[in-house]
């Protein structure tokens, strides 16, 4: 029997990995992938506590999180395509001006 704190540990380590990725990487798509890592860490937490507390609410929230992640990926990648088409910028730090 694996204690729930082990799952929470894995989840915390994965979340911090994703957070570091968002902070230090420059490539758009890698930044979005790091966000996916963070969402996965949250999912592990939700499912672990659903199992620990004998409730299905966590699993259902995980399904909602996966749906939100799908929408986020679609819209985020569409924005990346627009930015790439408009001006050649593949790094997040090159987009520092809004249109005025």
């Amino acid at each position: 029997m694996v204690p729930v704190s082990a799952y929470v540990l894995v989840s915390a380590i994965l979340f911090v990995t994703g957070l570091v990725g968002v902070l230090i990487r420059r490539n758009f798509i890698i930044v979005l992938m790091s966000v996916e890592i963070m969402l996965n860490a949250a999912n592990i937490n939700l499912v672990a506590f659903a199992h620990h507390l004998d409730s299905l609410a966590g699993q259902i929230m995980t399904l909602f999180v996966i749906a939100i992640a799908a929408g986020e990926a679609a819209v985020g990648l569409a924005i990346i395509i627009v930015v790439f088409r408009g001006k050649i910028a593949t790094n997040v730090d090159q987009i520092n001006l809004l249109k005025w």
Binding site: V16, I24, R25, R26, I81
Partner: protein, 173 residues
């Protein structure tokens, strides 16, 4: 046996997460993310969440990750010369310290709470998918519908954003 599988899935998913963040070639990062998603699905199976594990494989690995790889190859991104934010590398130190702090708190906690009705035996009686379906279409019907509207908005937004600008509105990007 379960602790063995747990350690395998946990260690490989952590390693794959670190590889996703640290590899230089974006396509390799995508492959590492695929390994991460698969092993997180393994963790879900260990937690008796079979339906979520299958959804994780089909939606995450099968749809979302393919979308990422598709855009990567469409845009033909080369490996970056400028790789990390060198200036901001000190973030990592702060984040690491925060993690150690967090882990200390977590390891000391017992995570007690009110137990719900869905024990492993009760769920296995009807099957994991059916148990989830019953709860989702009764208690969580409104969030379910809201997610449907959200996905519709995401689809329309993605199409509008990614559509090639026509000549009459060439000014608008």
């Amino acid at each position: 046996m379960i602790p063995v599988f747990f350690s395998y899935f946990a260690l490989v998913s952590i390693a794959a997460g670190i590889l996703t963040v640290s590899l230089r070639n974006p396509v390799h990062c995508g492959i590492a993310l695929l390994a991460l998603l698969g092993h997180v699905a393994g963790l879900f199976v260990l937690l008796h969440a079979e339906f979520v594990a299958v959804v994780q494989i089909i939606i995450y690995a099968g749809a979302i990750l393919i979308l990422y790889l598709f855009v990567l190859m469409l845009l033909n991104l080369k490996s970056e010369e400028r790789y990390f934010h060198r200036r901001h590398a000190w973030y990592v130190t702060g984040v690491g310290a925060l993690t150690v702090e967090l882990l200390m708190v977590l390891l000391a906690s017992r995570f007690s709470g009110a137990k719900g009705p869905a024990t492993v035996e009760a769920v296995e009686e009807v099957g994991n998918s059916m148990a989830i379906g019953i709860v989702m279409f009764s208690d969580y019907l409104l969030p379910f519908e809201i997610v449907g509207v959200f996905l519709l908005g995401a689809i329309v937004g993605a199409i509008v954003l990614a559509k090639a600008p026509s000549s009459s509105e060439g000014e608008y990007r």
